[in-house]
Amino acid sequence: MASNVEGPSLAIEARGLVKRFDGFTAVDGVDLSVPVGAVYGILGPNGAGKTTTLRMLLGIIDPDAGSRRILGAERPHDVAHAIGYLPEERGLYPAMKATEAIAFLGALRGLPLREGRRRAHELLERHGLGYAADRQIRQLSKGMAQQVQILGTLVHRPRLVILDEPFSGLDALNQGKLERMIRGLAEEGTTVIFSTHVIAHAERLCDDVAIIAGGKVPFAGSVDEARDRIPRQVRLETRDPDGAWRKALPVDARREGTFWNFSLPEGGVEPLLRALIEGDAGILSLSIERAGLHDAFVAIAGAAAARALDVGSEQEDVR
């Protein structure tokens, strides 16, 4: 899906968002454009500013500078009935029954309680949690309580769903269920925006991503655009691991057993192939792979971190 789309087709449009806490700048000029109907990932390490950005988008806290429009509204609470939000720090009333908890979350978004209870039963049954409908939240496992909260986030059928680290705390089985749920929402036309520090989820689910590091967004665009930020990788296996043909390999070539890994040369693969054949390298296999989102993330966020004064040590960790 195309990024940076202007106009009413944007579910979220943020310009220059800034948030400071006691002199510390947590978010520093963030721009975001989330198209309607997109599955949008905000990728970043812990402490990068993801949660603060989401809180500003939702109107939980006000930005110190910048502007945001959510579903066309300048004040997020004006469209709260069309938004579903799952915070990173999950919270439900421990004494509430699962059905009541879901209905209450719906009521906060303007859904009448009776309708909320009906939908809560329906959702719990559909997601295999019908047996827990009348159990108190404190009687549920952490994972189950989290699923109940996710259902509460969706009970009022929002047009925009914002999930802060939705996969944390879920086991592999339930992570898969959540991924399917997000895909289902996208198929229904719901815009889903979620933050994560696990690249795999974003890579599997997202049309567009924003990479956030040190409170800044060095990249926002499609997943393909992010991957194209770094050259494609060549993986070569030869019968003869050494020989004169090695001079044809680029300088960044790294050897792993009988394999060589290096970036695709600017001139393409043909001159290299010719040199290998002429040098009798004995090619067993050669593949050209597009960079993964993880590699793209490291390249993009690492460069940004290098520019930031306060994240020098973190940059080393990434590299």
């Binding site: 006691d22 390490p45 402490g47 809180r55 939980i60 009935h81 009022h156």
Partner: protein, 406 residues
């Protein structure tokens, strides 16, 4: 199906949840039982006190006089007992002195030769009381009367006095109304302090449960603030109604007629109605301050630290209102009525003492204005602080990259 909620509608959703959750919780049952403990302690202490009182022997006055004087005193005491028994000291002849015999009562008491509280010596014409200062001071009159009667030896007929009690005089009415004012003011203070503190613990618990962010994302913070404040007001009124009903039943069951209570100036029904209104005002004023404090605190310890000055200030306000009550119509009373936090207390005391109703209308209007201002200010502070007060340094902590490979 769902639409945008107004601030009041959102506040209603929050208040309804809080109200029902607290009402049907185990803690509410204990909350209702709360006042029972001080009452129980007071009853036990009172009963213990009266037992101790009853177990103490009545002090006895020893007589060390000539035979004739001692006998005359005993006879007179016996003759006066039917009409003045309680007022007269118990007498015990410890020594009938022979003519010319001397006796030192001071030495007898100091060396504990006798077990009486004091000793009457000398003669009927010149009686001498020896003993502890307070006691002999109290016995001076009765002993003088006993000596005079014993000396005259005349039989005096004491006529039966017919009693015609009246409900109250203007003096007893003033005293009664003052007592009612004092009681109403103290009750209002205790209820306000106890219940306004509850709103604080409720908020801190919610911050601990991480629910506050869910609420903050869905509805404006003003609605969360109002919802919590009014839910706790509702709970407070349920609690007060329960306590009042229980107390009323016990009172009536104990056979105490309402007529025996001193009437307040505005009458009981109006005083109770005004009490409810002034409680609501005092609660909303203090609750707003406590909620604003709660928004800044993250732990119970922080709450205690932050709320201590407010509690102390409220105590001062109570003392101020109590002092003002003793000077109706003075500048001090007017000041107590004008200061928003003491106004409900001062006005409730006034309702017990003065029948005029117009000042209450004005005072309630004045207090409502301050409630609106404080609720608004509190909500603003709440909104700006409640989502900032995470664990110290959380936002500053730049964690190491925890990026996981696919």
């Amino acid at each position: 199906m769902n639409g945008r909620l107004s601030v009041l509608a959102a506040a209603w959703v929050v208040a309804r949840r809080d109200f029902t959750a607290i009402l049907f919780s185990r803690s509410f049952f204990f909350f209702l039982l709360g006042p029972l403990f001080p009452v129980l302690i007071a009853v036990l202490a009172g009963s213990l006190g009266s037992r101790v009182d009853a177990s103490q022997e009545r002090p006895v006055l020893g007589i060390a006089m000539s035979v004739a004087d001692a006998d005359a005193l005993e006879r007179t005491r016996a003759r006066l007992a039917p009409v003045l028994d309680e007022e007269l000291p118990e007498l015990l002849v410890i020594r009938r002195l022979a003519k010319g015999e001397s006796y030192d009562p001071g030495e007898a008491l100091a060396l504990r030769k006798v077990k009486t509280a004091a000793i009457l010596s000398g003669s009927l014409e010149k009686p001498v009381l020896t003993g502890p200062g307070g006691l002999i001071e109290a016995w001076r009159g009765p002993v003088s009367m006993l000596a005079a009667q014993a000396r005259s030896g005349a039989e005096i007929a004491y006529p039966a006095v017919a009693l015609k009690p009246v409900a109250r005089s203007s003096a007893t009415e003033r005293k009664g109304r003052f007592a009612t004012a004092q009681g109403a003011q103290t009750l209002l203070f205790l209820l306000t302090m106890m219940l306004a503190g509850m709103v604080l613990s409720n908020l801190v618990e919610e911050k601990g449960n991480k629910i506050i962010e869910v609420l903050a994302a869905a509805v404006p913070m003003d609605a969360v603030f109002l919802g919590k404040l009014f839910a706790m007001l509702g709970i407070s009124l349920v609690g007060i109604a329960t306590w009042a009903a229980t107390l009323g039943l016990l009172w009536l069951g104990g056979g105490i007629s309402p007529e025996r209570l001193p009437d307040p100036a505005v009458g009981w029904p109006l005083l109770i109605a005004l009490g409810v209104v002034y409680f609501a005002m005092a609660y909303l004023l203090l609750g707003s301050v406590f909620l604003a404090i709660g928004s800044m605190a993250t732990t119970v310890r922080e709450v205690q630290t932050l709320s201590m000055p407010v509690t102390m200030a409220q105590l001062m306000v109570f003392f101020f209102a109590s002092f003002a009550m003793t000077q109706p119509g003075s500048a001090v009373e007017i000041a107590a009525v004008l200061v928003p936090f003491s106004s409900p207390f001062a006005m409730l005391a006034r309702a017990a003492q003065e029948p005029a109703l117009l000042p209450h209308v004005l005072a309630i209007g004045w207090q409502m204005l301050w409630v609106a201002l404080l609720v608004r200010g509190g909500a603003r502070l709440f909104r700006s602080r409640v989502m900032k007060s995470g664990p110290a340094g959380k936002t500053r902590r730049r964690s190491r990259w925890s990026l996981r490979r696919p």
